[in-house]
Symmetry: C2
Subunit: 241 residues, 2 copies
DNA sequence: CTCTATATTTGGTCAGACCAATTTGGTCCG
DNA sequence: CGGACCAAATTGGTCTGACCAAATATAGAG
């Protein structure tokens, strides 16, 4: 974004973090706008803009009488980014849920893309899958062609709902993963099998099989990422001692 | 929500509608805050709160020099509700995409719920599936037990990411469907087959099979809803003539 | 202790002002 | 004619101070 340097954005960020860190019980009243303005050494207008954002993301409920904190479960998906950035190393369970979800949506996209593709699309997709199989089966070298493949699937499937969700999901996530130098170690034999299935599915134009294969790939990534985060958390714990 | 009666909310709603109706080309500059305040007969503060919301939902980009409209594809999932409410009868393609997506997430939830359920959970789930099968196979009578079943699955799976997405997806959608008196006509034999598969899957604790069955059910609903919307659109066209 | 009436607090909105950055318009030069 | 440059107008970002109506808290009466 571009307006991230404004005071209201800063206030929203700090309040959001406090809420996500459970500094407030659900149902608690937030300090009044005037108090917040004083605390952040700014004006009511800036605070109101920040609160307006937090309300739209479902974290608070503004009423005459006071703003009340809502449970995290009531929030919108837009809080996922901030939620994963709370600590240096994100919550493993949350990352796993993210990958599950992103995998399911990608798999759906694959199914629908194959269902709706025209001949040219299929040619392109087949070529990309073959290319995927050519790469050595480590995460680093497979990432770019996978990304390309998923984007092409999304183009063909042309599902706006999934697209919009992906906008929210990818925000902050990929960058945080990369920033941590994430290189999950995939099990090559398993990945080979998945890719083989995927290639067959695309060749035979079998949407359901392609869906299963894509999901299986993400499940592989999930397992590798889980291990990686746990070892990372172990390191941090050792450093802390 | 509770603050939907404010001026800033009204301004945001009207501007959002105009943007979604493509009244502005992507990249166009929005009128200045002062102009908008004059046009809506209000103050800059109210307009700024509205614009702040629109920016958070990814519809515009506020910069010194002016606010610019972004392409809809860049928006957040929170625009889905307004997007489907643009016309009295929502865009069939969009509804189909919604059901695809919701179905895929529900199917994922089923898989993970069965994977993580303890013995008590499984007993409850099995009972609910049997109960599902007892109902007559029309949409109206199956809706409540399905809803209950899906909620239970979500409780067991406990996937916050899917939960947050569902918050956004369900907003405005269900009510609009109900408001239209939507009663899709399911193909009973197909539904029976799906439910039978689902029951077997839950009995055998086969997550993947349950996932496939749930998805198949949603695909059935998709087909029925598609027909229904098309006939509804036909009626409207006839009325218009 | 309960209930009511009053005073205070809170959000909703507005008007007006200042600053810094951008945009715009015009001018001058090649 | 075209491009570079500069000044003026515009725009967003922020603050101050004010008023209203609704909600809340408080004190007092029963």
């Amino acid at each position: 974004m571009t307006t991230e340097n404004s005071i209201s954005f800063e206030i929203a960020t700090r309040l959001r973090t406090e809420i996500l860190r459970q500094r407030f019980q659900s149902g608690d009243r937030l300090p009044s706008e005037r108090d917040l303005a004083a605390r952040f050494d700014s004006s009511r207008g800036a605070v109101r803009e920040a609160l307006s954002q937090l309300e739209q993301s479902g974290l608070i409920d503004i009423q005459p009488g006071g703003a009340r904190v809502k449970p995290i479960e009531a929030a919108s998906i837009s809080v996922l980014g901030p939620l994963m950035s709370l600590d240096e190393v994100p919550d493993p369970a949350l990352v796993d849920q993210f990958l599950q979800t992103f995998g399911a949506l990608s798999a759906l996209t694959a199914r629908e893309a194959i269902k709706q593709a025209n001949d040219e699309d299929m040619i392109r997709l087949r070529r990309m899958v073959v290319n995927l199989n050519r790469q050595s089966k480590d995460f680093e070298s497979m990432q770019p062609p996978w990304r390309e493949f998923l984007e092409e699937l999304a183009n063909v499937a042309d599902n706006l709902v999934v697209h919009l969700i992906s906008n929210d999901l990818k925000t902050h996530f990929v960058e945080q993963m990369l920033q941590l130098g994430f290189v999950p170690k995939l099990r090559k034999t398993a990945v080979n099998e998945v890719l083989s299935d995927l290639q067959k599915a695309v060749a035979a134009r079998d949407g359901n099989q392609a869906q299963a294969a894509v999901q299986a790939y993400f499940d592989e990534v999930r397992g590798a990422v889980r291990e990686l985060i746990h070892s990372r958390l172990g390191e941090n714990r050792r450093q802390a001692v």
